[in-house]
């Protein structure tokens, strides 16, 4: 009796009505509507139109002309297309693999070593410096990089080589140096992103875990692999997925720094599609390249999410 009285007294006088199934769901749909409209207008219609164009020959104006699978057939025998996708693999190395590995190490060092010894402010300052290239417009960065790696002794890098008696290198004018320069730039641009994400994730790690591990005699590397890595695994997945998509779609740096050269050696799918769309006006063929790129991005995303879910389920099951 007394319990029920207390319960009555503590209960708020008016409980907000919980929408019942059926009646309330309509209101939720209303909230979803703007997003759905944008999805249809910005994503679905262009996507369907893009796929439709892969079967057409079109110069951008006048009516498209149906040519069946011609664009798709051309794609499979087009060396430039395959070069562009091979370069995507190198972009994944530069924008995903290296930044993620380095980002993990830097974040752990900043959080665990620098943060502890020199305080949070120093760690935050260093984190911001790593993040700086992310906020720099890629065009500006590209132009500056272009100056640094200019051929002969005009470029800063070649001048420095000259000081130590080394010959000048035509960095962007030959392979593999042009691709290497592009990759180094991308590592520099990308590294701040994982550092910031991983450092935020590290806030979730209970310091007691580290202390306990330390008391048990675990060294830094053992703590890093056993505690840090396992706790921030979701963030590692997010960073890897978003960076892989960015690497597959990379365009700006290639446009500014190499324009796909020399002799098409640094071509990537997005830039190749752009060339076909806007300079050659082979809209149908450009759409085919863009469609393949979309399919690859979707497959990569689905695989990533699937693997992540599988691992999370395994973890929840205590395996």
């Amino acid at each position: 009796m007394s319990l029920s009285t207390r319960a009555r007294r503590t209960a708020p006088p008016e409980q907000p009505a919980i929408p019942q199934s059926g009646r309330g769901s309509g209101a939720y749909w209303l909230y979803l509507l703007p997003g759905f409209v944008l999805l249809v207008v910005i994503v679905l219609i262009p996507l369907v139109w893009n796929v439709y164009l892969t079967f057409q020959k079109w110069r951008g104006v006048r009516a498209p002309e149906f040519i069946g699978l011609e664009n798709w057939q051309k794609l499979f025998t087009d060396d430039d297309f395959w070069v562009s996708f091979t370069n995507s693999v190198w972009m994944i190395v530069a924008m995903v693999v290296l930044p993620t590995v380095l980002g993990l190490l830097i974040a752990a060092l900043l959080f665990d070593v620098i943060g502890r010894r020199f305080g949070g402010r120093v760690a935050s300052f260093l984190r911001a410096t790593y993040y700086l290239p992310q906020i720099l417009p890629v065009v500006v960065a590209g132009i500056v990089i272009g100056w640094i790696v200019r051929p002969d002794r005009d470029g800063a890098l070649n001048q420095m080589l000259g000081w130590v008696g080394l010959p000048a290198v035509d960095w962007l004018g030959q392979m593999p140096s042009a691709l290497i320069v592009l990759m180094v730039v991308m590592v520099w641009v990308q590294i701040g992103y994982p550092v910031v994400i991983f450092m935020a994730a590290l806030q979730r790690v209970d310091p007691e875990l580290y202390e306990a591990a330390e008391l048990d005699g675990a060294n830094w590397m053992q703590r890093f692999t056993a505690i840090t890595m396992s706790i921030i695994r979701p963030e590692i997945f997010v960073v890897t997925l978003t960076c892989t998509i960015a690497a597959l779609k990379v365009f700006g740096p290639v446009y500014v720094i190499t324009r796909g050269g020399p002799a098409g050696a640094t071509l990537v799918p997005a830039y190749y599609a752009y060339q076909e769309f806007f300079t050659k006006r082979n809209i149908g063929y450009g759409a085919t390249i863009a469609t393949v790129l979309t399919i690859v991005v979707v497959i990569v995303s689905v695989v990533f999410i699937h693997v992540q879910n599988a691992m999370e389920q395994k973890e929840r099951a205590g395996l």
Binding site: G35, L172, G173
Partner: protein
């Protein structure tokens, strides 16, 4: 999760604001353009304010506003901007009344074939512009129904011309005890002499147009007008395995092997090549008359001159960019009046006295001595019907192909035969639609 929700909401708000902005701007542009009130000329061009043409157009705008009482709504565009987006913009109400556009099959010809720019033949005859332009300048202003230049219908009017020749640093020649060459053999002898002195004689740029232009100029050394007509006007198939083109590619490869051009030229841009002539690093620069004004202003540390390519009857060159009138223009009559003003002797003289090549100037109005020399060279080319256009014109996107293939050649990734084959395949594929 909360962060994600907030971010999604922010993005959605941004998207909504953006679409609202687009809708509003669409409304406003439609509102102002649909009128065609005869009082506003919407004009787009991409000449720098300090260039010969920029100065001339500024004066033309002043005269136009004084004489017609109409206002010029000028929008400064970049060359790339107009090149890449014109076909989309011209199909809308946002189209200007008058626009500067690049000439050639892949550019003005393409727009003409799609009906996005107007056939202005009647206006040309009415104002008598056809009488002011030399026949080889008319070629790039007239197109066929399929957009091939040299047709019967006028789609644009050029006010100036341009050609590719050779700039020589006279002081460097004097220092090396060399004479300015007048034949191709002398030209090669000069190149050899500079190389022997440890100087790379030619300023070149493999990442942009200069190297491709040199390649085509080498082809023109062997070719004749029939070759140009086949290559540019598709009169007959181009023989890519024939001696003319084979010789050009092989000679260019030799230029690299012999050190006439630097081996690390493939990543160099046109600007850098021009600057290496300006600062005296390279004594010779094969490039266009569009550098002339810049060199007058900046290459002041030494004496220099420019001639047509030695030993060649044919030179790269054409009319300058064209004034085109979009089909959707609201004030076409005002556009014609503006074009007419740009053809007046006083405007043409501004072009001529600032390093440009006027097409209808009174020679007495050209007071600058260096400019007179340039105009005399250009007129010499016109008189022998020597303008041969540019190598990338015949097919859309062929510019990028030329750059990439010649980069392959100079870096040694591919030999002359592979380069010629790559160029030929892209040319044939790109021109198939026009034949």
């Amino acid at each position: 999760m909360a962060r994600t929700t907030r971010r999604t909401r922010t993005l959605m708000t941004l998207a909504a604001l953006t679409s609202a902005g687009i809708a509003l701007s669409g409304c406003s542009s439609a509102g102002s353009d649909d009128g065609g009130d005869g009082q506003t000329l919407k004009l787009w061009h991409y000449e720098g304010a300090d260039s010969a043409m920029g100065k001339a157009w500024a004066e033309a705008i002043k005269i136009f506003e004084e004489e017609t009482g109409a206002t010029v709504e000028f929008e400064e565009k970049s060359f790339e901007q107009i090149q890449k987006t014109a076909s989309q913009v011209l199909d809308t109400d946002a189209a200007p009344d008058l626009m500067e556009f690049n000439k050639g099959n892949a550019t003005a010809g393409f727009l003409a074939s799609t009906g996005l720019i107007s056939d202005i033949t009647d206006a040309v005859e009415e104002y008598g512009w056809d009488d002011m332009l030399a026949p080889s300048l008319q070629t790039t202003a007239k197109y066929t129904e399929d957009g091939v230049m040299g047709g019967d219908a006028w789609y644009g009017v050029p006010n100036y011309g341009e050609f590719v020749g050779v700039y020589y640093n006279k002081d460097a020649f004097a220092e090396a005890g060399l004479e300015i060459p007048t034949t191709y053999d002398e030209f090669v002898a000069v190149l050899d002499a500079f190389v022997a002195k440890g100087i790379t004689p030619l300023a070149e740029a493999g990442a942009e147009y200069p190297l491709g232009q040199l390649w085509y100029q080498l082809a023109l050394l062997e070719g004749d007008r029939a070759f140009v007509d086949d290559y540019q006007l598709y009169e007959n198939p181009v023989d890519w395995d024939g001696p003319i083109i084979t010789s050009a590619t092989e000679t260019l490869a030799e230029y690299v092997d012999k050190g006439y051009i630097a081996s690390d030229v493939s990543s160099v841009k046109a600007e850098d090549a021009g600057v290496s002539f300006i600062n005296g690093t390279a004594p010779i620069f094969v490039s266009g008359s569009w550098w002339f004004g810049r060199f007058v202003a900046e290459a002041t540390a030494f004496d220099w001159t420019m001639t047509a390519f030695p030993g060649a009857d044919l030179s790269l060159g054409s009319s300058g960019n064209l004034w085109v009138v979009p089909e959707n223009a609201a004030n076409k009559e005002l556009a014609y009046e503006f074009i007419d003003i740009t053809m007046r002797p006083e405007i043409q003289a501004i072009i001529g006295n600032n390093g440009g090549l006027p097409v209808a100037a009174d020679p007495a109005d050209i007071t600058d001595e260096k400019s007179s020399e340039l105009i005399a060279t250009f007129n010499g080319i016109l008189e022998r019907d020597g303008l041969s256009f540019y190598p990338d014109w015949p097919a859309p996107g062929f510019y990028d192909v030329i750059v990439q293939e010649l980069q392959g050649l100079v870096t040694g990734v591919q030999d002359a035969a592979e380069t010629t084959k790559g160029l030929g395949e892209a040319y044939d594929e790109g021109t198939a639609d026009f034949r």
